[in-house]
Each structure stands twice: as structure tokens, then as C-alpha cells.
């Protein structure tokens, strides 16, 4: 038996196929989000099935999650990304007590119970300054791809202070910093610190350890270090962080199908 998880995020769609018996990932994939949420997710699923040489009929249950979860018409049910990220992270890191997920459009804090269930959560989806969107803006402004931001941040010697509370104004601030001769490396490190400080404000006091960082932004080098500095506690990156929502959805689909 196979279960499937589809995470329809704001910037990308992620799909995971899971063996319900062994709980091993059989296939996983990512594609860019677009206008036709359902069609793109369906196409990605079919590609993964073909690649893994699996028949669609072997999928006993499919759970959709993420921002566009309700647009995934072929899902058996939907579960929010809060619950899915908790399930996905705990599957990979069973001791996780706090999860920070930063995606393209929002950021989340999840506090977990010892058994892995969600104790409490908070979300920021009103302000881009605490999300991956901020990094996209700075990458575009510096003509560096998202993948290049980590290298830049690593070469920083003195992170530039970004004081604006809004991405729109921060972009103006970055232009000013560049004009005043600030190094792009220091600007990137400053933006990472700025995002981390906003997330830390959401966490408030007392993030239970271990703190696990997941979501697409966790793949960008330097962000985990920035978060650890802001939280004043070690931060571990979840394995394959972009996929934890889809993985959690597949795990929950498996539990729903198998009752365990």
C-alpha cells in the first residue's frame, strides 16, 4: 500500500509517495507553483509514479496540504500544513520539540508535545519581512539567485543592519546601503538576521529544545545560523526540509488508511 502527500505551497508544489508498511519514501518531487494548482500537482504526481514505476491504483489515500490544499481536487482529504509539518518533522526527528517553518509566503512556529502532537502554534502570513519572500526580493536586487545567497552570506564580515519593518521599505533601504558602498555579502547576512529576528519575536520566550528548522527557506545556507543567533539556542535543519509538509501529509494519509 502506498500513501501520497501533496503540499501545494505558495511558491512550489511538493509530492511524496510513502510505503505504508515500511514508512519509507518511495519517491518525492518538487515543481514550481502556477495558476492551475490542481493540474500542476496532478502532473507532478503522475511523473513521480512513472519514475518509480508505480500504478496510481496502489495509492490507497492521498492527503493535500498547504496554501492551495483545497484546490487539489484529486485529494481524499485535506489537512493543514501545521499538522503536516509536525508529522513530517517528527517522522524524521522524533525528539523535535519546536519547529520553525519558513516558506515563501509565511512563517510558522509549532510547539510539540512529547508525543509529537501539536501543543500550540503561531503563524505570520501578514508581513513578508519574516518569510522567504524577503530573500527573493534581496536576491533579485543583488542579481544573485536564491541559491547564491548562502555563499554571499558566508562571506559576510559585518552584517548590514536592516531596520525597516516592511519588505517594500527594506528594499529601498538595501538600495541605499548599496549606494553607500555596503558589500552585498553583508547585506544578505543583514537580511537573514532581519528575518530571523522577526521569527524569534514570534517564538517569544522559551523555545523548547531541540529546535528544528524546516521549509524551503531552511535550504538557504546561513539562515539556520541566523535563527540560532536570534533565538540564542541551537537550531537543527530537518532532512530535506522543503519536503516535510508533503511527507507529513503522506504519513497522515497512511495513518488514515491503515489506522496506525
Amino acid at each position: 500500500m502506498i500513501s501520497a502527500g501533496v503540499d501545494g505551497g505558495s511558491r512550489a508544489i511538493k509530492v511524496v509517495l510513502l510505503d505504508c508498511r515500511t514508512r519509507k519514501v518511495l519517491a518525492s518531487g518538487v515543481c514550481d507553483q502556477g495558476v492551475d494548482h490542481d493540474g500542476l500537482a496532478r502532473k507532478l504526481l503522475e511523473q513521480l509514479l512513472k519514475k518509480a514505476d508505480l500504478a496510481r491504483s496502489r495509492i490507497v489515500r492521498l492527503v493535500a496540504t498547504g496554501y492551495t490544499r483545497n484546490a487539489i481536487g484529486f485529494a481524499d482529504t485535506t489537512v493543514t500544513e501545521i499538522t503536516c509539518h509536525a508529522a513530517g518533522v517528527r517522522h524524521r526527528m522524533p525528539k523535535a520539540a519546536t519547529i520553525i517553518e519558513i516558506g515563501g509566503q509565511d512563517s510558522k512556529l509549532l510547539r510539540l508535545n512529547p508525543d509529537g502532537s501539536v501543543r500550540d502554534f503561531a503563524m505570520n502570513d501578514r508581513c513578508a519581512a519574516g518569510t522567504g519572500r524577503f530573500l527573493e526580493v534581496v536576491a533579485a536586487r543583488l542579481n544573485a539567485g536564491l541559491e547564491g545567497l548562502g555563499d554571499l552570506a558566508r562571506a559576510a564580515s559585518s552584517p548590514a543592519p536592516i531596520s525597516s519593518m516592511c519588505v517594500v521599505f527594506a528594499e529601498t533601504e538595501i538600495i541605499g546601503l548599496l549606494a553607500s558602498g555596503a558589500r552585498p555579502e553583508d547585506i544578505v547576512a543583514g537580511v537573514q538576521a532581519s528575518i530571523a529576528s522577526r521569527v524569534a519575536a514570534m517564538v517569544g520566550r522559551g523555545a523548547g529544545a531541540p529546535v528544528v528548522f524546516t521549509g524551503g527557506v531552511a535550504m538557504i545556507p546561513g539562515m539556520a545560523e541566523a535563527l540560532a543567533a536570534a533565538l540564542k539556542t541551537p537550531v537543527q535543519i530537518a532532512p530535506d526540509p522543503q519536503m516535510t509538509g508533503a511527507l507529513g501529509a503522506a504519513i497522515l494519509a497512511c495513518r488514515q488508511a491503515c489506522g496506525r
Binding site: Y67, V118, D120, F121
Partner: protein, 460 residues
């Protein structure tokens, strides 16, 4: 009777109304299809879903005809008092006089919501310097200027001090436009110092006697102004009778809340309960009819509870809701996400408590006013939330913030901490603007995630 109570669209509710009219069912004079309010511009009503009972139909009709009642009162020569920033004290005094009608101009804050901003009250407020940084109550200033809603009151009262900075600024702007206001001071409620003479307040709090004496003296000024306006004395006897009537309404509402929030399945939707609770503050400009509306609603709830008939399946996640929402659709959304109300604290819970009947009336009213959750520390509010959430068996708490409302800036953090420490319940904060459409996906995600969390906790 069995099965679920249904939620109806406005068109379906109006069909119910017409059927009742055709069958000759007894209905109040103000009752009729709600579509007439849509024609007046309240387009948001089309987006809501309503309880399917005649009692709810009456409640909605009563709410939506308040302005008509005020204009009728003016035409009949009755005196109209606008009781601003008053959550349930001055209206009790005003309705103790036979020819006085009180209303709550602050209630205009809902107008931009039901009219989807089309009426431009916020635009007028903006032109007066009251922009987005202010609470949606700023719509009231627009209503005073365009005079398209309530008649201009014969007397305006407004509490000031510990109540709400936003509102004080809005009311001061209003006064500068030529609407004189009788201000009465409300001190910030504090705990008595050791050895300081203190008294018990409704709601389980205590305050120094000196603070109660100050509020009492302030309310005495209001009493004198009301008596002068009415041209008849407002003695203790009249006030005692007025308090008795107010307590009758509070008693009805208390029983209604107890059944609606404790019974399983939930017998009355969150939306209608929100409207019903609001009646305790200002009686919707007709105290006697308020009591009748609530009594019919209570009968319906009793009947459903006895029959095990609910608006949600039994076992729905029980959410305790803090603060009223600016967009009423969110109360529908709560149920769409699989939850039900398991208690509320809409910032006027003191108006739901019985006014002490064993005290001189002005002393009782002063203590009641000082029990207002807005004038005390947030930890006091949190203590009441904890007490009520425990009593109603709530499984999670939602703190709904109102953009621009200054009393909301930090209270969510404090209340969340106390609730987590005392009850170990999940707490989620939402921000609900007057028209929340752009936020719909995120509001839905938060509420659905909260329901998932609650259901998962039950398995543990």
C-alpha cells in the same frame, strides 16, 4: 425533533419569513424579509449564513431595525441618549426613565462590515483625521457626519480614562465638530493596597472603595443630566426598577449562554450568539423587546437541547472566543472549520453579570462599571477567561484582534500565557478587519489547524 439545525442563506431565511407571514404566525411589526436591508446597501448580509429558527429571524430583524426605532422615538418626542464607550452602565440608567431611549453610537463600527465599505464611513472618518491607525469604531464619526444612520442624540455621554485611548480620540474629534459630550471619568482599576478599604465587584474582582466612590460620583453627574433631559427625576426607586429589568435580560442571556456553550451538540450558531450577547450592552434601543427576543431564542435553545438537536455534530471542537469579530462571516467560518463556541469573552462580560441588587443602585452601578474588563489589567481578563473556559469545557482559545484597537495591542500575549499556564490549552491569535475576505485562506488555515490540534489532543 431530530437532525441538525440548518444554516440558511439570506434568500432561504426570507422564504421562511414569507411562509410565516403567509401562515399568519405572530410576528413583531418590525419583522420582514432581510432582503430589504440588502436593498438599503447592507450587501454583506448576502454573504452570511443564518440559523433556521423563527427566533433567529426575529433576532436579525430586531438588530437591523434599530435605526428605524430610533427615528420613531425621535418622531414620538422621546429623548435619545447616545451612550458612547459604555458597555452596559448608562443605558441601565437611561432606560429607568419612561421617555428616554439610549443607544450605542459605537455600534456603527459594524456598518462598514455589513455594507462592504460601500457607504464610505471610513472615508469620512479618514477625512476627519481618523485613519486606519484607529479602531473601526471610527466609523461612528462618519455616521455623525453623513446623518444617514441614527438620529443625532439629544445627549451624548462618553466614559474616558481607562476605557480606550482610540475611542477618546475619536470622541474628542466628534466634540470638535460641534457635538457636545458629557464626559465621565473611569479610573484604571487597581488591586487594593494592603489595609486599604476595598469592596467586591461583580465578576469576582476587588477594587479600592475610593475608586468606586469616584465612579459613583461621576455617574451621579450622568444621573443629573439624564433627569434634566427627561424633565423628570431619576430617583433610587426608578433606578432600582431599571436595574431589575436589566438583570432580567442578563439572566435570560446567562441561561442562553450556559446552554449554547455547554450543551452538546451545540444548539445555536456562533453568529446568532454574538448578536444576542450584544443586546446586553444597549438593548438595541428597546429594552422590553430585547427581553422578548432573548426569551424566544432561549426557548428555541431549550427545545433543541432537549431534543439533542444542534447546529454542529456532537463532539465538535469547543473554542473559547475572545473579543468580537469585525467581520461577522468569521463566526460562520468557525463552524465551517468544524468548531463551535465553548464560551466567549467579548470585552463586555461584566454586562452579562447581574448588577448587585442588595446595594443602593448608584453604588451597584458604580461597582458594575468598574468591573468592565477594559478598565482593568489584562491578567484580570485572563483570569475570567480561564474560569469561564474551564466551566464551559473549552478545548482551545482564540484571541481575535481588531486592527487599530488599542486595548488589543498586548493583551493577547498576556491572556495566551495565562491560559497556557493555567489550562494547558492551545491559544491562537487572529486579526479580523471589517472585511476579512483577503485574509480568508489564512483565517481558515488557523482555525482548521486549531481544530486538528484539539481533535489530536483528545486522542492523547
Amino acid at each position: 425533533m431530530s437532525g441538525r439545525a440548518k444554516r440558511l442563506t439570506l434568500q432561504e431565511l426570507d422564504r421562511l419569513c414569507r411562509r410565516r407571514q403567509a401562515s399568519g404566525a405572530a410576528m413583531p411589526a418590525y419583522a420582514g424579509p432581510l432582503e430589504r436591508h440588502v436593498q438599503d446597501g447592507d450587501r454583506r448580509l448576502l454573504r452570511l449564513e443564518y440559523d433556521d429558527s423563527p427566533a433567529a429571524l426575529r433576532l436579525w430583524n430586531f438588530l437591523l431595525t434599530e435605526e428605524d426605532r430610533l427615528h420613531e422615538a425621535r418622531a414620538a418626542g422621546r429623548k435619545i441618549v447616545g451612550t458612547m464607550k459604555d458597555l452596559g452602565t448608562v443605558p441601565v440608567m437611561a432606560y429607568s426613565l419612561p421617555n428616554v431611549v439610549a443607544f450605542y453610537p459605537d455600534g456603527a463600527w459594524w456598518t462598514p462590515c455589513v455594507m462592504e465599505l460601500s457607504e464610505g464611513l471610513f472615508g469620512i472618518a479618514q477625512s476627519l483625521g481618523l485613519g486606519d491607525a484607529f479602531c473601526p469604531v471610527r466609523a461612528m464619526a462618519g455616521a455623525f457626519v453623513n446623518r444617514a444612520h441614527f438620529p443625532i442624540p439629544d445627549l451624548l455621554t462618553c466614559s474616558v480614562g481607562a476605557t480606550c485611548d482610540d475611542f477618546s480620540a475619536i470622541a474628542q474629534r466628534l466634540e470638535s465638530l460641534g457635538y457636545p459630550i458629557l464626559w465621565w471619568e473611569m479610573p484604571s482599576r487597581r488591586r487594593p493596597e494592603p489595609g486599604e478599604p476595598a469592596v467586591a465587584l461583580p465578576g469576582g474582582f476587588r477594587a479600592p472603595e475610593s475608586q468606586v466612590a469616584l465612579v459613583r460620583s461621576e455617574l451621579e453627574r450622568v444621573r443629573a443630566a439624564l433627569a434634566e433631559l427627561a424633565g423628570s427625576p431619576l430617583g433610587d426607586e426608578e433606578l432600582t426598577a431599571g436595574i431589575r429589568e436589566a438583570n432580567r435580560i442578563r439572566g435570560l442571556l446567562g441561561e442562553l449562554r450556559h446552554l449554547a456553550y455547554a450543551a452538546d451538540p451545540c444548539p445555536m450558531p456562533a453568529l446568532e450568539m454574538l448578536i444576542a450577547e450584544m443586546l446586553a450592552i444597549h438593548f438595541c434601543s428597546d429594552r422590553a423587546e430585547s427581553a422578548a427576543v432573548l426569551a424566544e431564542l432561549l426557548d428555541e435553545v431549550r427545545s433543541r437541547t432537549t431534543a439533542g438537536r444542534g447546529v454542529m455534530p456532537a463532539g465538535a471542537a469547543r473554542l473559547f472566543w475572545v473579543n468580537p469579530v469585525a467581520d461577522l462571516r468569521v463566526m460562520n467560518l468557525l463552524e465551517d472549520c468544524g468548531a463551535r463556541l465553548g464560551g466567549t469573552e467579548y470585552l463586555f462580560c461584566h454586562a452579562l453579570d447581574a448588577i448587585p441588587g442588595d446595594l443602593p443602585p448608584m453604588e451597584a452601578l458604580a461597582r458594575m462599571a468598574l468591573a468592565d474588563p477594559m478598565v482593568g489589567p489584562s491578567v484580570d481578563r485572563a483570569a475570567r477567561i480561564v474560569r469561564d473556559a474551564r466551566a464551559f469545557g473549552a478545548e482551545a482559545v482564540v484571541v481575535s484582534r481588531i486592527p487599530g484597537a488599542s486595548h488589543c495591542a498586548l493583551e493577547g500575549t498576556i491572556m495566551g500565557r495565562v491560559v497556557r499556564d493555567e489550562l494547558n490549552l492551545p491559544v491562537v491569535e487572529l486579526e479580523v478587519p471589517p472585511v476579512a475576505d483577503p485574509l480568508w485562506p489564512t483565517l481558515r488555515t488557523r482555525l482548521e489547524a486549531l481544530v486538528e490540534t484539539v481533535l489530536e489532543r483528545r486522542k492523547r
